[in-house]
């Protein structure tokens, strides 16, 4: 009759893939980081990471440079809004899909092409 440990008597969720499945397919726009303007990328030191902090789905890594996991990024745009150096811009998913040149990129990254 199931576990009765305290941990399971409340609802815990940790950052990572969630109930929505591969939520990257929901995206209408995708965030793209301009490394010329991104503070940690430019300085090569562990600073800023505002995008990592604000991402509601924890899909941006705390690395140099920060990397966005497009398999789960829903394209909400909060990172682009919060980035203090305006290094992140939201581009139309349809354009991103064309830039990716082909279906392979589509199937691994899950963008929504405009058919």
């Amino acid at each position: 009759m199931g576990t009765r440990g305290y941990r399971y008597k409340t609802s815990h969720s940790l950052s990572g893939p969630g109930d929505g499945g591969k939520t990257g397919s929901w995206r209408i726009q995708r965030p793209v980081i301009d490394l010329e303007r991104c503070t940690p990328a430019r300085r090569g030191t562990e600073v800023c990471f505002i995008c990592w902090l604000y991402c509601p789905d924890s899909v941006i890594s705390r690395t140099i440079p920060p990397v966005i996991d497009y398999e789960y990024c829903k394209g909400c745009g909060i990172c682009a809004e919060e980035c203090p150096t305006k290094a992140i811009t939201m581009i139309d998913e349809a354009d991103a899909y064309q830039d990716d040149e082909g279906l392979q990129a589509c199937s691994t990254e899950g963008p929504r092409p405009c058919t």
Binding site: M1, G2, T10, S11
Partner: protein, 393 residues
């Protein structure tokens, strides 16, 4: 005229047609589309009312209390934690005997956070002194708003019209929109027994002593206990008034039936399932299936939960072998509140009462599961059955 809309739209149309004059509400899922619709009606001039934007549900009901005290027809709506945030004002509105109408779009209460349907929110408010009606479909929502205002104003007690979040609030189905000329015959303009008047100032519901007192006119005024006794007296009388209003509604609109209970195939039933809201309509199909298999079973929907139709229930269930109550809420530490209420109403009578829980936090109640559970139960269910339909522990 019939239209196809969702349950929130049915409620909003009902409030507009009832001529509510003051709306104060704070948005919360799944109630939000209802208040949005009302603010659109007012903004476009389609509805002549004052919309009071507020910063919380507590303020929403406070604004309705103030508006109703001045003699305005007031309406609010909420769900779940929003309803709980109102709690202190909910008691106040009933004690102040203000005929406010509130739609409760039933939703589970956190924690854990959950936006889906069950009845824990409104059931937890059953002892506040409000009348509680439960709707099973959109016709009962839109007609229910009109009946709720009529009842509230007739007995000076506020009314909650409860309907299932998502299952009704976001589901589309056809319903008939009451005609305005018939509404004018059914629901007269609000004529308050007392209204605040700046030219004749008074304090309402200030400190009231435990004992009776002599007022400024030298007359004996009630103490707190007498005032509360009269709330109870009028609540019980509201059972009769609700049926009178239902009869008047039927006379004007040609639809409506029983204000208290809604039986289906109960005539010769050995087993009767009792519940609240849309679940009781889903049970119609379950009863049809089980009847076809030879089981003598029926379903009885409780449309008016407070005041509790104890006598009508006892009468309706006399001769029945067993009553099975299926609820979407419970009094933690004991059992479902409706089950306890029903046991009390049937005390000393024939039917045994069994309680079951279903659909907590929006857990889907599959019609096949309901059928299987009830079939197994009437055949003699195994002892280890937890009584929670669909539990997957």
């Amino acid at each position: 005229m019939h239209i196809i809309e969702d349950g929130n739209a049915a409620a909003a149309l009902g409030v507009k047609l009832a001529g509510a004059q003051v709306i104060a509400a704070y948005p919360i899922t799944p109630q939000t589309p209802l208040t949005e619709k009302l603010s659109e009606f007012i903004e476009s001039g389609e509805m002549k009312a004052q919309y009071v934007p507020v910063e919380s549900e507590h303020s929403a009901l406070a604004a309705c209390i103030a508006a109703s005290s001045t003699g305005a027809r007031a309406f609010t709506a909420t769900s779940a934690n929003g309803l709980l945030y109102m709690h202190e004002q909910i008691h106040w509105a009933a004690g102040a005997r203000l005929p406010i109408v509130m739609c409760v779009v039933n939703r589970a209460v956190g924690a854990p956070w959950n936006i889906w349907n069950d009845h824990q929110d409104s059931i937890s408010q059953r002892d506040t002194g409000w009348i509680q009606m439960y709707a099973c479909d959109h016709q009962q929502i839109i007609d229910g708003v009109l009946k709720a205002f009529a009842l509230a104003e007739a007995v000076s007690i506020p009314v909650m019209l409860c309907y299932d979040g998502y299952l009704l609030s976001h589901t589309y189905m056809p319903f008939e929109v009451p005609e305005e000329e018939k509404i004018a015959r059914f629901l007269k303009p609000f004529a308050p027994a007392y209204a605040l008047d700046p030219d004749d100032p008074a304090n309402l519901n200030t400190v009231t002593l435990p004992d009776v007192r002599v007022d400024v006119n030298g007359e004996t005024a009630h103490g707190y206990m007498e005032i509360r006794y009269l709330l109870q007296e009028d609540h019980r009388a509201a059972l009769t008034v609700a049926q009178e209003i239902e009869d008047r509604f039927t006379e004007v609109f040609g639809r409506g039936d029983d204000a208290l209970l809604e039986p289906y195939r109960c005539e010769d039933a050995e087993y009767v399932v009792v519940g609240l809201g849309s679940l009781t309509y889903q049970l119609h199909d379950v009863v049809d299936t089980l009847r076809a298999e030879g089981f003598k079973i029926g379903v009885l929907g409780v449309r008016l939960y407070r005041p509790f139709p104890s006598e009508a229930l006892a009468e309706a269930l006399t001769g029945v072998q067993e009553v099975i109550v299926i609820e979407k809420a419970l009094s933690y530490g004991y059992e479902g509140a409706l089950c306890s209420d029903l046991k009390a109403a049937l005390c000393g009578r024939q039917p045994t009462v069994t309680g079951m829980i279903a659909g907590i936090g929006g857990r889907e109640i599959r019609t096949a599961d309901l059928t299987d559970t009830l079939r197994a139960h009437v055949r003699g269910a195994p002892d280890e059955d937890p009584g929670w339909i669909g539990i997957r522990l």
